[in-house]
């Protein structure tokens, strides 16, 4: 993305110092292997008169179809107000286990473990307390689950952890899971803008 910004020639603000570089932040970067409906990127421009529409057009011109800017506008929320993300987990070939899937999410508590990337320390938490919503429906042979999980500077729960626990619960660890993020929200579940 930095290369695309450089190609666009937009008047983007750069950090000062010995090796100045373009300032640009992604709101909650997606984990490897997941897809998303959209990503949110924040940057600063040095020209206040620059219209969002022009900015979008210039960026679109230098991007390829795989990473394509869809909208631009003034930042409404601060990145640190991010609190939740909405995911769709597609359990390939899981339609016949729909009831069991719902039973997994209906348990009074779902104890999980996570390992800190930085310290390697293992901590335990209850998924049930963290998640907002879990709804499973059948789609052909697959099961599709909507799940809202914490995602922000305060706390993040990787949907992969939930998926792993679910497959273990089903005793179907061979099933393939596709994770798609469809939205980012603040604490009040307002769409992140």
């Amino acid at each position: 993305m930095l290369r695309a910004l450089q190609r666009s020639g937009l008047p983007v603000w750069r950090t000062q110092g010995f090796h100045p570089h373009i300032y640009c932040t992604f709101a909650h970067p997606l984990s490897l292997g997941y897809t998303s409906s959209y990503e949110v990127m924040e940057l600063r421009v040095t020209d206040d008169g620059l219209q969002s529409s022009e900015m979008l057009a210039r960026l679109q011109k230098v991007c390829n179809q795989d990473i394509f800017p869809t909208a631009a506008g003034d930042a409404v929320m601060k990145i640190n107000s991010l609190a939740f993300a909405g995911y769709e987990l597609l359990i390939c070939g899981g339609a016949n286990a729909l009831e069991r899937i719902q039973a997994f999410f209906d348990q009074p508590s779902i104890p999980l473990e996570r390992v800190s990337k930085k310290t390697g320390r293992v901590s335990r938490f209850d998924l049930k307390e963290k998640m907002r919503e879990a709804l499973a429906v059948a789609q052909g042979e697959d099961a599709r689950i909507r799940l809202i999980l914490p995602a922000g500077p305060k706390e993040t729960v990787n949907p992969g952890l939930a998926a792993g626990a679910l497959l273990r619960f089903l005793g179907r660890e061979e099933l393939r899971v596709q994770v798609h993020r469809f939205g980012l929200y603040d604490q009040e579940m307002n769409l992140f803008l």
């Binding site: 930095l2 450089q6 190609r7 750069r14 570089h21 490897l32 390829n64």
Partner: protein, 633 residues
């Protein structure tokens, strides 16, 4: 099932999946129905290494500019991916189309280092092709290889249909046209290869018979079916008019050299006697500063890179560096592009420019004295004096630098223990110099890093007849050097002696080594240039199995009159010249560089570049342009 569908299921299981997905900005997608020639350009190492390679970027663009030719990229999948692909029966595929290599007309390898040879075999195997050229049918893709190691391609002769010698920008399009003509006529692969051998710069090993003597040396090489002997390399005569990529593929993951690169000249004037690149790319041919400047700017605009590196064997020897830098800085600064100038001797240009450059990118201070004493530096024709090094260090220390990196080699011809200890002594002298300077950076200590490689004798160098030191001898010298370093301010790092030994074997190897490479590959050798993958025991077993010895290739002195495997290839570096240089080395005599006087190496036969520059007036005879001579030497 299509490869792209199968891939989805394994990408999450492997490290760095972006190595295998393609789709990068500036990658070339064509309509396969309109491409009558499909070329799979293979780099026999990982994506990160291969994507950093300039030659591949150039040839990728050159081929894709041709109507009807679609060139795609292929890199060696890392071991985890090879395993995953095997499990799912996914054949090796090209990144752009995800089509299996078997669907291609050409499979082309670039041979940058000898230790990638088993990866060439691995890639053929993953593609589902028989390894040996003789076992592949008329319908199988043509397997071609080029790059610096193709100057002695004999160890791979059994596996490759066709080698490209020298620079490929003009030769490869000619080959594509020939292929097209053969397709039209209905001429098969065998006939295509017979005709390809007639194009200068192409070598078809199957058209030559090699006979060996009882002692294992070569008795004779005979050409068949009208194939030429010797086979001439190709060069680009005019770097200003030859195509240079307007865009590089911009990777999604970090690669080894992730920046825009502008090539400013080919060849080297210096003639260091151990350095193969210094001979096989002769003569020196420069690009005009305006051409280089324009190309570099276009490249930065097309890629979005904010770092530009100049590429050549020795940036300081570019005759119009001041003008080039001024041109580059005029746009790079406002456009926030930083310049990096590798292989630069900072004693050579004006302090104003030095200041400008160092303001933009403060790279480390590096020298390559290569040997620890003046005597040995004379032997290798490295005409860098201790005074040069100390003077530059003084300027740099006074300008705020606190670390220096020095590159050396051990095992050089005529080397004594005194030369080895001399490396530590030189490092200590630099440390002492730092502390003697009143204007040194305040409160900081100095760090001198020494990086030591083992000397590998290479074809087409004056040292091609010398034996390599044995591993035991190299290890003894390592210990000797380490014992001679008495301060923490000097750190020493080593290249692995095992790697160097194998390199020495294959650099000067003959065709019989094909059996060994295949046996080693079958035993599991891959990614041999990666320290944690190299398994010398397996290699030893492969040699034993085939009745050959590493000593014969690496540690045996050659007589001047021995027929060498690469004698068949004409790189316009005469044997008489190399022998003369070898004798001068033994006598400790140096040879001036090409801009001081011509040493008559043979490259003048091209009537190009430095060979036709007028040394007195500084004006190139050919194009009548001004030539600036760097001061100092």
């Amino acid at each position: 099932m299509r490869v792209s569908n199968q891939l989805e299921s394994i990408l999450m299981e492997v490290q760095k999946p972006a190595r295998y997905t393609g789709g990068e900005v500036n990658s070339v997608i064509k309509d396969p129905s309109k491409a009558d020639i499909r070329f799979a350009f293979c780099f026999p190492d990982t994506y990160e290494v291969g994507m950093s390679h300039l030659g591949m970027k150039i040839l990728y663009s050159v081929l894709n500019r041709m109507e009807g030719v679609w060139c795609e990229r292929v890199f060696a999948p890392w071991l985890d991916m090879q395993e995953a692909m095997a499990k799912q029966s996914i054949p090796l595929y090209a990144l752009e189309s995800k089509d299996p290599l078997l669907d291609f007309d050409f499979i082309g390898f670039t041979l940058q280092y000898e230790l990638s040879y088993t990866n060439v075999l691995a890639m053929l195997d993953l593609a589902g092709l028989p390894l040996r050229a003789a076992d592949r049918g008329e319908d199988a893709p043509v397997v071609i290889a080029g790059g610096p190691c193709a100057c002695n391609p004999e160890p791979l002769a059994d596996f490759i249909d066709l080698f490209s010698l020298g620079e490929g920008e003009e030769a490869l399009p000619e080959l594509m046209e020939l292929y097209r003509a053969c397709q039209k006529e209905g001429a098969g692969k065998r006939e295509f290869l017979r005709r390809a051998a007639q194009i200068p710069g192409f070598y078809v090993p199957a058209l030559y018979d090699v006979v060996y003597q009882a002692d294992g040396t070569i008795a004779s090489v005979t050409a068949r079916a009208g194939a030429p002997a010797p086979v001439e390399k190709r060069i680009i005569r005019d770097l200003d008019s030859v195509y240079y990529p307007e865009a590089f593929v911009v990777p999604y993951l970090d690669i080894v050299h992730d920046r825009a690169v502008e090539e400013i000249f080919r060849g080297c004037i210096r003639g260091c006697r151990f350095c193969q690149a210094g001979y096989i790319y002769r003569p020196v041919r420069e690009k005009d500063p305006e051409t280089a400047c324009g190309q570099a700017r276009a490249l930065c605009e097309a890629t979005g890179y904010d770092e530009l590196s100049l590429s050549s064997l020795s940036t300081s020897d570019y005759t119009r560096l001041d003008g080039l830098l001024e041109g580059l800085l005029s746009w790079s600064e406002p456009e926030h592009v930083s310049l990096s100038l590798p292989s630069l001797r900072i004693d050579n240009f004006s302090s104003v420019l030095l200041e400008k450059v160092s303001r933009l990118k403060k790279s480390g201070l590096t020298f390559a004295p290569e040997a620890g004493t003046q005597r040995l530096r004379d032997v290798i024709n490295k005409r860098l004096t201790e005074e040069d090094i100390l003077n530059t260090c003084r300027t740099a220390f006074e300008g705020g630098y606190t670390s220096v990196k020095l590159y050396f080699m051990v095992g050089l011809p005529t080397e004594t223990d005194e030369d080895v200890v001399g490396i530590a002594r030189l490092a200590q002298t630099i440390v002492d110099l730092y502390y003697s300077l009143p204007a040194k950076p305040k409160g900081k200590s100095v760090q001198v890093s020494i990086s030591v490689a083992s000397f590998v004798p290479k074809p087409f160098t004056p040292f091609q007849w010398f034996p390599q030191n044995t591993r035991e001898e190299l290890r003894r010298k390592q210990r000797l050097l380490l014992d001679a370093v008495t301060t923490r301010k000097v750190s020493v790092s080593w290249h692995d002696a095992d790697v160097s030994e194998l390199e020495a074997v294959f650099a000067r190897g003959d065709r019989r080594l094909g059996r060994v490479i295949e046996a080693a590959y079958r035993r599991g050798c891959k990614f041999d240039s990666w320290d944690d993958c190299l398994d010398l025991e397996k290699w030893r077993a492969a040699f034993r199995e085939n009745g050959l010895s590493m000593d014969f290739y690496a540690h045996r002195p050659r007589e001047y009159n021995e027929v060498l495997p690469w004698d068949l290839f004409d790189y316009k570096i005469s044997r008489a010249f190399l022998q003369r240089e070898n004798e001068k080395a033994l006598a400790g005599e140096t040879t001036p560089h090409c801009r001081e006087s011509c040493a008559g190496c043979g490259a003048a036969a091209w009537k190009e570049g430095v060979c036709v520059e007028n040394r007195q007036s500084g004006v190139s005879k050919k194009r009548g342009r001004e030539v600036y001579f760097p001061s100092g030497r």
